[in-house]
Amino acid sequence: MSDCTRDEMMTIAAARLLWDGCVCFVGIGLPSAACNLARLTHAPGIVLIYESGTLGTRPDVLPLSIGDGELAETAACVIPLPEVFAYLLQAGRVDVGFLGAAQLDRYGNLNSTVIGPYQAPSTRLPGAGGATEIAAHARRTFVMLKATPRSLVARLDFRTSAGFLDGRAARARTSMRGAGPQAVITDFGLLTPAPDTDELQLTALYPGATIADARAATGWPLAVAATVETLAPPTTLELDTLRALQARTREAHRRPVRLPA
């Protein structure tokens, strides 16, 4: 681990959760890196969908926006955004959806809307975007976020996207078809829902991370699984592939854009 950053470990841990051929609704940032890492290593047949409508895209470098030109140029096809949400996501054709948020609670519910009251927020966040329906309809979701007591909170200021609601099968009683958050990938390890209560518990740590680190970074009394796995450190292939991808990306985005004449 010494030579691997927490961002890299998060990305690699997320990539390992994906399988060849899975249909993946990708977000920008770490999820995009994780999905493309999986594609370049153990899951060459993974299908990457960006909400901009690019299906089965194979970018050589990571996009900075959800709709970069290379996503369109390398996609099997590009479809209108309304169809992405109605015919693919709502129709239950997406295996994995990635989510991030400013706040997460112990049942995997997410806030990306406001800090403070909705009508008079202290901080106005970007809002739902695609997250609400990804959380509802993707067959399963993976959440990626940096853990701090201000991001892993006892109580959300606003619920933007549903996890397990109040737990204990509350989600199963709704018309949401997706199974909800099956893993929260933090910078210390993984939280996964407990079978009976749906409450997130610590089930895996990165090499070098401790239960104490996890508890210190969590704003509620964190439940810890009977056995906490320690994830294998990044393989050379994983790390080299990820760093090469990041290097290509930095290189590509360093090139100055020629202003249109």
Binding site: I28, G29, E51, S52, G53, T54, L64, S65, I66, G67, D68, G69, L71, A72, E73, V78, P80, L81, P82, F85, A86, L89, Q90, N109, T113, Y118, P121, S122, T123, R124, L125, P126, G127, A128, G129, G130, A131, T132, E133, A135, A136, H137, F158, R159, T160, S161, A162, L165, R171, T174, S175, M176, H253, P256, V257, R258, L259, P260, A261
Partner: protein, 284 residues
Amino acid sequence: MSAQRVVPLAEAISTHVRDGLCVALEGFTHLIPFAAGHEIIRQRRRDLHLVRMTPDLVYDQMIGMGCARRLTFSWGGNPGVGSLHRLRDAVEHGWPRPLELDEHTHAGVAAAYCAGAARLPFAMLRGYLGTDLANANPRVRSVECPFTGERLAAVPALNPDVTILHAQRADRSGNVAVHGIVGAQREAALAAQVLIVTVEEIVDELPPAMNAIVLPHWIVTAVAHCPGGAYPSYVQDHYSRDNAFYQRWDAIARDRETFRAWMDEHVFGCRDHAAFLARLRAAA
């Protein structure tokens, strides 16, 4: 017909974009009509109800310059960078004026555009489930299936008075060809009373396009020739997104005075989009 349809951008805006109207500048990351947004600012439009899935920099600029009274949207950030500081300032502190929010999800806005394009009064979706958004926005309701009894989320159709798009090409009759990422542009265009399109180039006649994306002249109100009109967003096969500008914008927009100074120099200080681009090239 052609004579009427192809007009200068300033004329298209002054003729069709009036204070108080509901206006949608669409384009999802790709083909964002910045030139049209700047022209609306130049013409000092006020009290607009702005509609856009992702407000992006173009609405940060319009909101910061006080053009808008209301915003219908689903994601209000600077993609890959962070906040839209002018949008935040308007919502958090009412500067330069308060901004009413009609907040939805991407799926909700997309469905509302489709309903608008079909001239249905509302759209239904399996959406807004288990969230506070449905309570926060009275325009999110529900409808019951007359066959299964199931309840679905319902949102009112979106029918902008004016939708403005940017595209690659138009011909002299006003037919418009678009390719690449299309977001919800076609639906926003078909939902509008008036459709204005700025384009990179104008040709004599577009060839038959089979299954390609065309906005036929009889749904287009006005076309304006505006090369670079989507900068700093991008146009497939013409120029790429200036990600560095999106990053620079964070610092420009963070402070009210810096923002105003930038807008004075780059929008009010430039006769049109060509002049704006020339100034940026000179500074580069």
